[in-house]
């Protein structure tokens, strides 16, 4: 991590300052960055594929728990144990995410959506459960049991995360280009010129004007910060994107841009995505399948239009009928 930080500092000079001469032996190192592969056509793809990410019995609790609330049949006050006060933010969640699939997660605030995402991205330590990631090691090992070094590698090469709050995902005082470069250095890129051109390309894709590419995100509007986050998450072509409320707080026009971009990424790179959103319209446009979470549990899952048109659970009905 230290060496990455140093490289990051050097890069800061590189991208904001004058053109930096790249030593010859540096440029060949770029080769281990995953090249962009054109997506195979859908027709040629096998129908029954292996899941890209498989999550089993994932739980995250805040507190030690007691004999009462560790029993799966325990009746809690929403997600809080009435005896010991432990908050069970995510309870026994399991799902599979397939290549090129967008899965939506809806639910009221406090239902554990963001905690689930953060457990996947190792921002939070899951209390129990297992996660298997095919693009990393073929899905053989539970990534929650790996060393922190391997976890960091998964974070840098397999997952791309866009946080609800841009302050969590960006370094506000560094330029947008170096923010993107940071992610690329972490995944093994060492060529300043490559990082710069890739960064500019990505910022162009999310409609950040080139003249502002070297400005720190602190000087950007909320929507622009969100788009820089997306560019950063995309920089090393992760096979799985975790999007936590990406369009919340954006105006409709920028929201349409972001949705367009997300679908384009899926189409061009066959990226799988987990999308958390309060906006059912966004979920309807993006997600193939949808999970509904309540008090840390997945209470219903189904095809997105089935969840919206024919909700089964009382809570889902209440949610869908609240739609404007």
């Amino acid at each position: 991590m230290e060496s990455a930080k140093e490289a990051f500092a050097e890069c800061e000079v590189g991208v904001t300052g004058e053109a930096v001469a790249v030593p010859k032996q540096e440029s060949h190192r770029v080769s281990h960055v995953r090249p962009v592969q054109p997506r195979p056509s859908i027709r040629s793809r096998r129908i029954e594929e292996d899941p890209c990410v498989k999550v089993q019995g994932l739980s995250r609790s805040f507190g030690n728990g007691c004999a009462y609330c560790l029993d799966p049949r325990a009746v809690l006050e929403r997600n809080r144990c009435p005896r010991c006060g432990t908050v069970h933010a995510v309870r026994d969640v399991g799902f599979e995410l397939y290549p090129g699939e967008i899965v939506g997660i809806v639910g009221e605030s406090g239902s554990g959506k963001s905690t689930l995402m953060q457990c996947l991205y190792f921002d939070q330590t899951a209390s129990s459960g297992s996660i298997f990631v095919k693009p990393y090691d073929g899905g053989h090992r539970n990534i929650l049991e790996l060393s922190s070094q391997e976890k960091r590698r998964i974070r840098n090469t397999v997952f791309g995360m866009v946080y609800q709050n841009p302050y969590l995902g960006l370094r506000m005082d560094y330029s947008s280009l170096s923010n993107i470069a940071e992610q690329m250095i972490a995944s093994g890129d060492r060529s300043v010129s490559h990082m710069r051109s890739r960064g500019e390309e990505l910022l162009g894709q999310v409609n950040i004007p080139t003249v502002r590419a070297t400005d720190p995100p602190r000087t950007f509007s909320g929507g622009m910060q969100q788009r820089v986050q997306i560019a950063k998450a995309l920089s090393n072509n992760p096979p799985v994107l975790l999007l936590d409320e990406v369009t919340t707080g954006l105006d409709l026009s920028v929201q349409a841009n972001v949705l367009d971009l997300i679908l384009q990424i899926r189409r061009d790179f066959n990226v799988s995505m987990l999308v958390v959103s309060h906006d059912l319209g966004v979920i309807r446009m993006l997600a193939d399948r949808t999970f509904v979470m309540l008090d840390g549990r997945v209470i219903e899952e189904g095809l997105t239009d089935q969840i919206l048109e024919d909700p089964q659970h009382a809570y889902t009905q209440q949610l869908v009928y609240s739609l404007l």
Partner: protein
């Protein structure tokens, strides 16, 4: 019930006759399909459709009529799995999976079938905002042919839009500004470019003027000529006349 029984019997004899003649098995065979909706907020159960038997041969056009609220759309939506069927089976003769029960198919299988085999045209156009008409149809084409066949997709898209009589100066306009008929034709175009084996039409002529209705009718006839199997819901009987191979009438969730 007896009417249902007779209907099923008639279907079975018809099928037996066709099997004898060496014809194909039905593309879609619905048996005992029942669906009701539980509304938790008011603690009530609403019957969508009950004990529906229906079978469609390849290349056939089957129409369903009935008053609104009689459960016509529920059947279509159960086939498309927008509604979760409660009981009964929907056997579909799929190109990819062979004979498959749509009531039991996995979500992944349904997603595949929706992209490749089963099309659904509703009265309403639901698309991403700020996409022009051309891109909407193009998007469908890409989903089917893959993004490596851009040139082919572009060719097919232009042909399809012309086929559906959408004026060329509307191609780069957002469909939000379209008239009802134009939206509908765009909707059908986007569904048709995927060349579905089975096309479900949920009142495609509702709220259309007569000229547009005739256009839709012509299109349906053309599709029928191409051998697409279709199941449609229609309000006006005149429209269905001479078009449908089979007609079913629904009352209170039952076939009559």
């Amino acid at each position: 019930m007896s009417a249902n029984g007779q209907c099923a019997q008639a279907v079975q004899t018809a099928r037996a006759a066709q099997v004898e003649q060496g014809e194909q098995t039905p593309m879609l065979k619905i048996t005992g399909l029942t669906k009701s909706f539980t509304i938790h907020a008011v603690d009530r159960r609403i019957q969508g459709c009950s004990n529906i038997d229906l079978s469609i041969m390849p290349g056939e056009f089957v129409g369903i009529t009935g008053r609104s609220g009689s459960g016509k759309s529920t059947i279509l939506r159960c086939i498309y799995r927008t509604n979760l069927p409660e009981s009964g089976s929907i056997l579909y003769d799929s190109a990819a999976f062979g004979r498959i029960d749509l009531a039991q198919a996995t979500q992944r299988q349904m997603i595949y079938l929706r992209t490749h085999e089963i099309g659904y045209v509703s009265q309403f156009l639901s698309v991403l905002p700020r996409r022009n008409a051309y891109d909407i149809v193009m998007q469908s084409a890409i989903e089917t042919y893959g993004c490596n066949a851009q040139a082919k997709c572009r060719r097919e898209t232009s042909a399809m839009l012309r086929h559906f009589d959408l004026a060329e100066d509307l191609w780069d306009v957002y469909p939000r500004t379209f008239s009802g008929g134009e939206k509908l034709r765009l909707n059908i175009a986007a569904a048709m470019i995927k060349q579905p084996r089975l096309l479900l039409l949920d009142e495609p002529t509702a709220s259309l003027d007569n000229a547009s209705k005739i256009k839709v009718r012509e299109l349906i006839e053309r599709l029928k000529g191409q051998g697409t199997t279709m199941l449609g819901i229609f309000h006006d009987l005149e429209f269905m006349e001479g078009l449908c191979d089979k007609e079913f009438n629904m009352q209170e969730g039952m076939m009559v």
